[in-house]
């Protein structure tokens, strides 16, 4: 199980709380996607990364609005291990090569947000799913790998946040077209969705967000009075209207996978001396 993708969390100062919670509860990696980069501002993001780095000792990938080599350098210096790029790479593909040469391929994750088209093909989107490109997502995946990306995360815009499952066809097509690891992102609503995208989709890793956040929110809400009424609850209420999602914990996900002979790092509670 790959990571936890923070989306739609509008409240600064709580991100580290989630990061720490997931670290202690078995996450293998974390991904911070600064979907509204302009809102946070660069300095706030770096401060958040540094604070998170003090508490979590698993890999951290940061993305959202990274446009220059300097942006990447700053994020890595702040404590991130990898960066996720999308918009900047689509607009100028050579950026992938430059970034891979400067920081190493394994540091560069190219995030592909794909919208299924009526003809059955997939189109890549940028600006966090807001802007279309007329670029074929599968061709783009192949090209990104050729340019030196170390990893690809493919997310179905149609499925993301809906809890209706991953786009199996999209994932398998990307997996088959590149020889770099592929992370499936967007859409997990049940434990079985996660199992299927690994087993059938042959994804190398899975990125889970809403499925985990909902349950985590409820845990915090019950424990911490000050957590309620900060906009987070609105977000969750709005999303939970889309589906009746119980949510799941990382422990549940891992046990589900291990019981079906999917190799993943077994759950060990990481609450320790830090």
């Amino acid at each position: 199980m790959k990571g936890v993708h923070f989306e739609g969390l509008r409240v600064l100062g709580k991100l580290e709380r989630f990061a720490h919670h997931y670290y202690e509860n078995g996450a293998d990696e974390l991904i911070f996607m600064d979907a509204v980069a302009s809102l946070y501002g660069r300095n706030s993001l770096l401060a958040i990364i540094e604070r998170a780095a003090r508490q979590i000792f698993i890999p951290l990938t940061v993305g959202g609005g990274l446009r220059t080599l300097n942006d990447i350098r700053n994020v890595l210096r702040a404590g991130a291990d990898k960066v996720a790029i999308n918009t900047a790479a689509v607009k100028r593909p050579e950026f992938i090569r430059e970034a891979a040469e400067s920081f190493g391929s394994s540091t560069i994750l190219v995030s592909i947000e794909a919208m299924r088209k009526p003809d059955g093909g997939y189109e890549a989107y940028i600006e966090y799913g807001r802007e279309k490109t007329n670029v074929d997502a599968l061709e783009w995946a192949t090209r990104a790998a050729e340019l030196g990306a170390g990893e690809i995360m493919v997310t179905s815009i149609n499925r993301e946040g809906t809890g209706t499952g991953f786009d199996l066809e999209l994932t398998t097509k990307v997996v088959e077209s590149v020889s770099i690891p592929v992370i499936a992102g967007g859409g997990a609503g049940t434990l079985d969705h996660i199992f299927q995208i690994v087993e059938q989709g042959r994804a190398d890793a899975v990125c889970v967000a809403s499925l985990l956040h909902y349950k985590a929110f409820r845990e915090f809400e019950l424990k911490e009075q000050d957590f309620a009424g900060e906009g987070n609850i609105d977000f969750i209420s709005r999303h939970s209207a889309h589906y009746r999602m119980e949510g799941a914990s990382i422990l549940q996900i891992k046990n589900y996978l291990l019981n079906r002979a999917i190799d993943c790092r077994p759950y060990h509670n990481q609450a320790g001396d830090n």
């Binding site: 540091t107 020889s179 690891p181 190398d204 077994p266």
Partner: protein, 228 residues
């Protein structure tokens, strides 16, 4: 007084996490590219993620090649992480052929796709994998009182412990006795950590491997304290 660890900064890698892990286990860590600080420290960590050739070029520009060779063979604990392990070797075949620090004889090669196209190896290896004692040990060694990992940074870890890997290349030390642990990726069994004198080097990232990775740092801290 806390032991001082110099973390070599040649521009590559997540140095902050290495520093935080060191500090968490009671070491005083400074990130530096200054020769005198590196030579004066009680222990040195050579970290890194990125291309071998670029790394060696950076070390040369910083005039650190000779000092690092000196520290690595001085008897002071010298810790290599990921690219840091690879740099200790004689040479690497990443983007051509490049000379390394040549402190340990051997070469660095790429994970090659196995012959079976139905199960292609994804390169880089990015993710968690298990570490084991090298297989050439006889079963009597397994049962003997002196376990291979005792007294090393891997002490108290389980056989098959999960650690985090992020690399496309791996080292092949000529002397297999130096191999402290192996790991398996596809059908390739490779060196996941090694020891040579006071050098301990890891292909995985202990500072990114959760609590068990921090245990590696804890063990290192004890080794460094003993060596002062």
């Amino acid at each position: 007084m806390k032991p001082v660890v110099a973390i070599v900064d040649y521009g590559l890698g997540n140095l902050l996490s290495v520093k935080l892990a060191c500090e968490l286990v009671g070491l005083h860590a400074c990130i530096t590219f200054e020769q005198n600080e590196i030579l004066a420290a009680d222990a040195v960590v050579l970290p890194g993620v990125g291309a071998f050739g670029d790394a060696m070029a950076a070390l040369e520009r910083l005039d650190l090649v000779v000092p690092l060779r000196e520290v690595a063979t001085s008897g002071k604990p010298f810790i290599g992480v990921c690219l840091g392990l690879q740099l200790l070797m004689t040479e690497s075949y990443e983007f051509g052929k490049h000379a390394g620090l040549d402190v340990i004889s051997g070469s660095v090669v790429r994970f090659e796709n196995p012959v079976d196209p139905r199960a292609p190896l994804k390169v880089p290896q990015i993710g968690w994998n298990q570490i084991y004692r090298p297989r050439h040990l006889s079963s009597s060694d397994y049962l003997s009182a002196t376990d291979l990992w005792t007294g090393t940074p891997l002490e108290s870890l389980d056989e098959g412990e999960y650690m985090y890997f992020l690399h496309s290349f791996y080292a092949k030390p000529e002397d297999s006795d130096m191999v402290l642990s192996v790991a398996r990726y596809g059908n390739i069994e490779f060196c996941s950590s090694l020891r040579y004198g006071s050098i301990y080097a890891f292909q995985f990232h202990p500072e990114r491997s959760g609590q068990k990775g921090l245990q590696v740092y804890r063990n290192l801290s004890a080794i460094i304290a003993r060596s002062k």
